[in-house]
Symmetry: C2
Subunit: 196 residues, 2 copies
DNA sequence: ATACTAAACGGACTGCGGTCCGGTTTCTAT
DNA sequence: ATAGAAACCGGACCGCAGTCCGTTTAGTAT
């Protein structure tokens, strides 16, 4: 019984479950219709026929809501670089994996850009978005394998170089093609990790 | 007379000048006392004995105010890399200049961090902060000289790698020493620009 | 001096994210 | 069935950035 409840979690009440369902459906509808940018917490509460307090108890903040909405596609992307086939997944050289990671990330961001921007914008440290932490750790490991002196800090530089806001604005505001972005990423990683 | 009025600018009215002075003084006081983070536009208007509309007509937005507050030290930094002595200024090799630029930027950000974060946070595209545009252009030129294939995009990657929020949080939240940041920046640029 | 006009003024107003707390509902133990 | 408690609910409320518009004021032309 009670699948995937963390263990002794005190059982989610039925009204809570019902409201969570309502909220997620309403949120997906609103995002589909007006875009993530335009989603307000009041409108969501109203559309889901639920009090505003309920929305915030459920998701904590606007950023939390966006992260919840993202979690499916995000976990899929994560599975890709953690368990999937090379060059993205394990089995290829660090350089190749890092290139593939950046390319995948760029396309992922361009598909879920609004959500990601909204998730990052509304939070203090975007670094405590759990998915960001995981990506950072992944890059850190690859950089260490490749002989970078301070892989943690370097991974942070690359994390910010792949910032959703940056990618989305490059493409949508400044008119850079996705191909140029991935090419430049490849150049960056290639030069960074080539052996003397 | 009337120095640095762009040319045929329609003469700033005396009450406008008086209020601008009041606002800047009040803003500096508030930032000094409570930090840039905590400065609200209402509090500023109140302390300067000025209506709220006046604040927004003067500075356009909270970000605009922060940029005004920054402009002095920012122009100084800009002079440094545009006209100052090498390796920051002209005369050194691109790689050296880029290293010096990043180091200078990191220390500049750590001194003016709150203001910079506040300026960037409140604006849509942080890229349309004029100072950011200039820095980007500077890096673009250096990268082109160094033979990078797509200097514009690469400069954008590096711009985000030097993001104020990133630098400030690395040091103040995640406990990374400034030295580690500058060392890692040096490693990044060195590897990026070393010739085959 | 006087009248005119364009600019500047200021504060009430809106919309948003987020908090708070008194009332209600669901589950559990008896 | 019943009582009690914990969890949940909802909407009034707050602080803040930014807008709007009727009023005031500084400069200018006569």
């Amino acid at each position: 019984m009670r699948p995937d409840v963390p263990l002794g979690a005190p059982h989610e009440r039925s009204d809570a479950a019902r409201n969570r369902e309502r909220l997620l459906n309403a949120a997906r509808d609103l995002v589909a219709e007006f875009g993530a940018e335009a989603l307000t917490m009041d409108a969501l509460a109203c559309k889901a026929h639920v009090g505003k307090g309920t929305v915030f108890r459920r998701f904590g903040s606007r950023a939390g809501l966006m992260m919840t909405l993202l979690s499916d596609s995000e976990s899929e992307f994560q599975r890709g670089f953690m368990f999937g086939p090379p060059p993205l997944g394990p089995g290829a050289a660090p350089k190749e994996r890092l290139i593939a990671f950046g390319e995948g990330r760029i396309y992922f961001v361009l598909e879920n850009g609004e959500l990601l921007k909204a998730a990052g914008a509304a939070t203090r440290n975007r670094f405590d978005v759990p998915a960001t932490k995981l990506s950072h750790r992944h890059m850190e490991v690859l950089l260490r394998e490749a002989g970078i002196a301070d892989p943690w800090v370097m991974a942070m530089s690359l994390t910010y170089a792949l910032d959703p806001e940056r990618i989305v604005d490059d493409v949508r505001v400044r008119g850079i093609s996705p191909t140029r972005l991935t090419d430049s990423w490849r150049e960056l990683v290639t030069r960074l990790l080539r052996t003397t």
